[in-house]
Amino acid sequence: MDEKTLDEIIARYAAPSGRLLGILGEIQNEEGYIPRETLESLAEKLDVHLSRLYSLVTFYSFFSLKPVGDHVITVCMGTACHVKGAETILATLESLLGIRGDTTEDGKFSVTTRDNKFTLEIARCFGACSMAPVLQVDGHLYGYTTPGNLPGILAEYGWRSHED
């Protein structure tokens, strides 16, 4: 993230309440993850220890330190999605994209395809439980997903089946 954008984000958070998480959230939204250099320059600009920012980024599940691909697919793992087969959705996406991910100890899951086109992540709950199972691609929600309609969703973002 360039310095000007970062300064603009910081300027939007003048009041102390909600400041640090607000700024980090905007960086996450903008970049798809929190780049190390941005975190370092943020620490300097706000005069807070880098370790403190690092502890925030690793504590809260919304933040990621891993770079992401062109499109980010987030599978909801909420309760309603779970009972309606979220695990199968995740496994099907892994096999379609030819990747395998693991949940780390702090509950994060992020894996990117080798061509850097897709990143697969999980979320705790989108609060769209009525349309379970739910997933999100680049912020667009897809409800009532089934293993069968996943290729169609991926195709909207330029995915091609290997059999093609």
């Binding site: 309440s17 925030l56 919304f62 933040f63 793992m77 779970h82 979320a123 609060g127 379970a132």
Partner: protein, 563 residues
């Protein structure tokens, strides 16, 4: 224009009324997150295109969600003199025929879900729409709606959440006006206490009492906070309340701030709810422009403003001390209470702080407007008012359901929800999220009130009801929640950090068919210990899914272990 008097408010009501029932037909598309995602936004765009190109005399607008998620996308049609008609399962291709019918003064029969000749907006305003369309079922005859009582969701899906005038037109901000110009702060707290309102975030603490403690705390500065973090997976009523009727929340907070003598409020909302954040920001801006937030509200000496603080996904931040730490830019790790938030040294930036859930705040305007006596008649003794539940999982009619507290689970799951999806048999429900428990179908006469749910081993929580059917493996459900809690444990105290991890390992072993009878005994002892010795609510309640499945579905565990 700032609203400073009764006549200013009346003028805004007239402006809003002219938008809700204009002299021309009005088409309103249900555009909360879920409605938009299943095609509502494309329908809106298509309708917009047709109306623009044809230069048609039709008012197109957006509304929130009336809660019948299964039937989405929903579109409301209001033709002057006729009842409001809700169309369901609409898709983009229907746009042309919808418009053609509307221009002919009609609606599509095969898309009509129900008609509403008049709607009681509860706070003293009944919206008259009109008569006719007798062939379409009445709202009150639709099984999903018949058993519901809309108090909190009284405006949801009927007014434009991005237009303050429409909220004012249906009785909004009258309670705040009444409180600020005609009641002492003491009198406001009295009303809230007498109403019997209890915290809708889960624990059910008496709201009026919390307000009184905050008011009585001696400090130069105090805060009020709205907890909009809605961390329970399976619960989304707060999202809809904010997306469909954000001004109701803001009005509740204005009244609370006045009662407690607070000039600064915060809404702590999760980053996963971008539309709710956007609508709240818009509503706060509108309220400021109308003189309802900021300096000298309604022209009085009272000043109060609201800011938004965005959370970043940590379930533990539902715990009050962790939530405050999060707003202060720290990791959300709870500290032992006391000091409580309302104590000096315990709240935000060390100042006495009142924290209430979204839905708790939303209850306030109607209590002030209609009086505590009116409110206390709804629900059951000690459990007054209504509660919004999210009825999801393997149930036929998914959606948001508002019923008086004390309504039985069976009414909610069978009468409103129509039982299992795809004709499957319902086995249990899970209430209260990861801190709650599973209740088997044989206990479905349990009334949904705070105490009865506790007696059944579960909790009210924020109101998520996830239905499980005959195909659901209850041990897997227990594992799901323990896995969730393990990931969300902040790691500060040993029983929660280590205990949950070992509970998860045991459940994994049992589910893999490698467990023994001795493992089941260890499991029972382990969860008892975690419950008794954890520092905060997360750890103390995390064993509930295991405890309740062990109590009610022991046979499923037994079937998995080797003797």
């Amino acid at each position: 224009m700032k609203i400073k008097s009764k006549s200013d408010l009346a003028a805004r009501r007239r402006i809003g009324a002219a938008k809700i029932t204009p002299g021309t037909p009005r088409i309103a598309v249900g555009l909360a997150t879920c409605g938009a995602a299943v095609g509502g936004d494309r329908i809106y765009e298509r309708l917009h295109e047709i109306i623009q190109t044809g230069n048609l005399d039709i008012l197109l607008t957006k509304v929130g969600c009336i809660g019948y998620c299964k039937e989405e996308p929903l579109v409301n049609i209001t033709i002057p003199g006729k009842p409001l008609v809700i169309l369901h399962r609409v898709n983009e291709a229907d746009a042309d025929t919808i418009i053609r019918a509307v221009l002919a003064g009609d609606v599509l029969d095969d898309k009509a879900l129900c008609r509403i000749p008049a709607w009681d907006h509860v706070t003293g305003h009944t919206q008259q729409y009109g008569t006719g369309f007798d062939r379409i079922p009445l709202y009150a005859d639709v099984p999903f709606f018949r058993h519901q009582k809309k108090v909190i969701l009284r405006n949801a899906g009927l007014i434009n959440p991005e237009d303050i005038d429409e909220y004012i037109a249906v009785g909004g901000y009258q309670a705040a006006f009444q409180a600020l110009t005609g009641m002492t702060p003491e009198a406001v707290i009295d009303e809230v206490e007498k109403s019997g309102l209890r915290g809708r975030g889960g624990a059910g603490f008496p709201t009026g009492l919390k307000w009184r403690i905050t008011r009585d705390a001696q400090a130069d500065k105090k805060y009020i906070i709205c907890n909009a973090d809605e961390g329970d997976p399976g619960a989304y009523m707060n999202r809809n309340e904010m997306e469909s009727d954000p001004h109701m929340l803001i009005e509740g907070m204005i009244i609370g701030a006045y009662a407690m003598g607070v000039d600064e409020g915060l809404i702590y909302i999760r980053a996963e709810y971008p539309l709710a954040i956007q609508r709240l920001k818009h509503a706060i801006r509108e309220a400021r422009e109308a003189g309802l937030l900021g300096k000298n509200i309604f022209g009085t000496t009272f000043c109060f403003d609201i800011e938004i603080a965005i959370g970043a996904g940590a379930f533990v931040c539902g715990e009050s001390t962790a939530l405050v730490a999060s707003i202060e830019g720290k990791t959300g790790r709870p500290h032992p209470r006391p000091p409580r938030l309302t104590d000096i040294g315990g709240g935000l930036w060390g100042k006495p702080t009142d924290l209430n859930n979204v839905e708790t705040w939303c209850n306030v305007p109607v209590i002030i407007k209609n009086g505590s006596g009116w409110y206390a008649q709804i629900g059951a003794h000690g459990n007054t008012g209504t509660k919004v539940f999210s009825l999801v999982g393997k149930v036929d009619r998914v959606g948001l359901v508002e019923v008086p507290l004390g309504t039985s689970l069976s009414t909610i799951v069978f009468d409103i929800g129509n039982g299992g999806a795809a004709q499957k048999k319902v086995k249990a429900v899970q209430t209260g999220g990861p801190s709650g428990g599973c209740i088997p179908v044989r206990l479905f006469d349990t009334p949904m009130d705070y105490e009865s749910l506790n007696n059944a081993g579960s909790i009210m929580g924020s109101g998520g009801i996830v239905v499980m059917d005959e195909e659901t493996n209850m041990v897997d459900i227990a594992r799901y929640f323990i896995n969730f809690a393990t990931g969300e444990s902040c790691g500060k105290c040993v029983p929660c950090r280590e205990g949950l991890k070992h509970t998860l390992l045991l459940l994994n072993k049992i589910l893999a068919g490698k467990g023994t009878k001795a493992d089941l005994e260890t499991l029972a002892i382990l969860v008892d210990t975690i419950q008794a010795t954890s520092l905060c609510g997360l750890g103390q309640t995390a064993p509930n899914p295991v405890l309740t499945t062990l109590a009610y579905f022991r046979d499923e565990y037994d079937a998995l272990v080797r003797s």
